[in-house]
């Protein structure tokens, strides 16, 4: 369990926020933070910076696996639903076709719905999985309290390292960011 840090006013500390002047500064600072072994941290930029995920050492997301599992489940459920309804739940002869199924023939008629349910489940898995993995939705974030942080959508570049990180230390982390070329460093309260 990570240590809990507080200010003199007994406010819990969220972490440290450092401001950088340009994308190159931020990029190299991220490499230093990554190499120092931090895991609970993020960078904030007004525009996407190519190669940032490598500089930050971001691992590949598990989302595709989630989507595949849920999607194939949808395919199976979609088929089963139709198969059960057509053969047991509510048998109904349409256009002289078989009830449907791989054994008795007439599986063709199940394909569009099976496909669509597969797509539907995949789409839900993608969007909900993405939100869940990103910790969204959330009402607020401690960084928003900082006036300076608003510039992250304009012309400034930020790194924030959370106090919850196992390697977090108020002095050492501040020193690291200073050495990495931060133009200003602030503590962020919860």
């Amino acid at each position: 369990m990570a240590k809990v840090y507080v200010t003199e006013n007994n406010d819990r500390i969220h972490g440290i926020m450092a401001e950088f002047a340009g994308p190159a500064d931020l990029y190299h600072a991220c490499e230093k933070v990554r190499d120092a072994g931090y895991s609970k941290w993020d960078s904030f930029t007004p525009f996407p910076i190519h190669g940032m995920e490598e500089a930050m050492g971001i691992k590949r997301t598990i989302l595709p696996v989630i989507v595949a599992v849920v999607g194939f489940t949808g395919v199976g459920l979609g088929y089963l639903l139709q198969w059960w309804v057509s053969n047991s739940g509510y048998q109904f002869v349409t256009q002289g076709k078989p009830y449907g199924g791989l054994v008795n023939g007439g599986w063709q008629v199940f394909v569009p719905i099976t496909f669509e349910i597969g797509i539907l489940f995949s789409a839900f898995a993608s969007i909900i999985g993405m939100l869940a993995l990103n910790g969204l939705p959330r009402w607020n974030h401690p960084l928003f309290k900082k006036e300076r942080f608003l510039a992250s959508s304009d012309d400034k570049f930020f790194i924030s390292i959370e106090a919850g990180d196992a390697k977090f230390d108020p002095d050492a982390t501040r020193a690291l960011l200073e050495k990495a070329g931060a133009t200003s460093i602030e503590l962020v309260e919860e």
């Binding site: 190519h50 190669g51 995920e53 971001i58 691992k59 590949r60 997301t61 595949a68 256009q95 076709k97 063709q108 008629v109 394909v111 569009p112």
Partner: protein, 428 residues
């Protein structure tokens, strides 16, 4: 390979041995393969005349047509991709486009490969093209469709031949212009050829799409003149895109194995080629099933005849094999990005996809050879004839391609989007 003055500005990866095969390499091999292909293709037709393997002439023409239409699909797919790349200013394709162009340069010859079929069919009064056969001239559907097949007030298929000549003229014109501009850029380094190509593709792409659809109507769908499907052009295009991507992947894969194009074509490019391969695996399945589903559901005799010809005499097994080999297996395998980036596995998949593509065309054409007299089919005994004729057509293409790839730079070095192509990266 001489170095033009402007070449010295190119990065090291785009100079010298990295982008050129040794002078004269591939000449002997290419000529040899081309020659063997020609011999086999002609032997295939000749064996049909002689009635070897218990086969009929229709069988031989069908086998030859499978090979020719498979190769034509690869060339058309490559041409359409080049046009799309130009129109979209697709940066990442700058380093791989030359291989599409090498394939595209065979398009007029692939068109020429159809000529023996057409000449034989007209001379022999429709051994495979039943709409040319005297027995069917009183068929109500054929009388209704005669203006499209023959023209108005004629017994010679003028309109069919005219269409065939138009395809050839148009394809020759378009492919030569695109190729000449690309080679001009190699020599001069000018940006202009790219702009000209893009402008031409804007009008040439829809026409190429239409000719692709109509050549499929004329040489594949018309094998059963009663049958019609509005999905047919798309079906052939799906196979064309599928097989041309597989061919390009294969060429690049082999070149990388020879130590060429290092740092020019990377696993990132293979990732994207793999995505295209995957998407057209799905696309093929989607439209193939859509066509099948509508025929199955509507149950109209003229349409179901298509599937009935492919149901008995063992053809059903091939159909099921196609579902697995052309869709399920590639779908599950190429789905993962690790495999798209694995050169060894992609080599296997490229070869497999090409095999599946030929089998797909085979499934379309070959059952029609004995459609009217299924009992006379030699069954598996006729298989050697199929192998000889199909392999012949494919080897002509392969032999030509070996020479073509070896003859010039392996990449269009002065493409204005080359910097994007070289630094192309898919993000996490």
């Amino acid at each position: 390979m001489t170095t033009a003055p402007h070449d010295i500005h190119l990065p090291a990866a785009l100079r010298g041995e990295n982008i050129n095969l040794a002078a004269g390499s591939g000449k002997g091999l290419g000529t040899g393969v081309l020659f063997v292909g020609l011999v086999l293709a002609l032997a295939g037709l000749g064996l049909g005349f002689a009635g070897m393997f218990g086969a009929s002439l229709a069988h031989a023409v069908a086998a030859y047509l499978v090979g020719a239409m498979s190769v034509l699909a690869v060339c058309l797919g490559a041409t359409i991709f080049i046009m799309i790349f130009h129109l979209l200013n697709a940066g990442w394709t700058a380093t791989v486009r030359r291989q599409f162009e090498n394939i595209m340069s065979f398009l007029p010859y692939a068109w020429l490969m159809l000529a023996p079929v057409l000449i034989l069919e007209i001379a022999k009064d429709g051994v495979l093209f039943h709409w040319l056969h005297a027995d069917f001239q009183n068929d109500y559907l054929l009388i209704k469709k005669a203006p499209y097949f023959f023209g108005v007030g004629t017994e010679f298929p003028y309109f069919f031949v005219l269409r065939y000549l138009f395809y050839g003229a148009f394809w020759f014109f378009v492919t030569r212009r695109l190729l000449n501009w690309s080679y001009e850029q190699d020599r001069t380094g000018s940006v202009e050829p790219t702009a000209k190509s893009r402008l031409m593709c804007a009008w040439a792409l829809p026409l190429t799409a239409l000719t692709t659809a109509f050549v499929a109507f004329d040489f594949l769908m018309a094998l059963d003149f009663k049958f019609f499907s509005t999905m047919w052009g798309v079906y052939y295009f799906a196979g064309a895109a599928f097989s041309s991507i597989a061919t390009v992947s294969l060429i690049l894969n082999l070149l990388l194995r020879k130590g060429k194009l290092q740092g020019v074509v990377t696993t990132e490019h293979f990732h994207d080629l793999g995505k295209l391969q995957f998407s057209f695996t799905v696309f093929w399945a989607y439209i193939a099933f859509s066509q099948y589903f509508l025929i199955w559901y509507a149950n109209i005799p003229e349409e179901t005849s298509f599937l009935l010809h492919r149901k008995d005499w063992g053809w059903k097994a091939l159909g099921v094999f196609l579902i697995v080999g052309h869709f399920v297996a590639p779908f599950l395998i190429i789905l993962s990005r690790h495999i798209k980036k694995n050169l060894t596995l992609m080599l296997v998949m490229s070869l497999w996809c090409l095999f599946a593509h030929v089998l797909d065309i085979f499934w379309i054409v070959r059952p029609m050879a004995y459609a009217e007299n299924p009992a006379e089919s030699p069954g598996w005994g006729g298989a050697p004839l199929d192998v000889i004729a199909i392999l012949g057509c494919i080897l002509i293409f392969v032999g030509y391609l070996i020479q073509k790839v070896a003859s010039g730079p392996l990449v269009a070095v002065h493409d204005p989007y080359m910097h994007e192509g070289l630094e192309h990266k898919n993000y996490v």
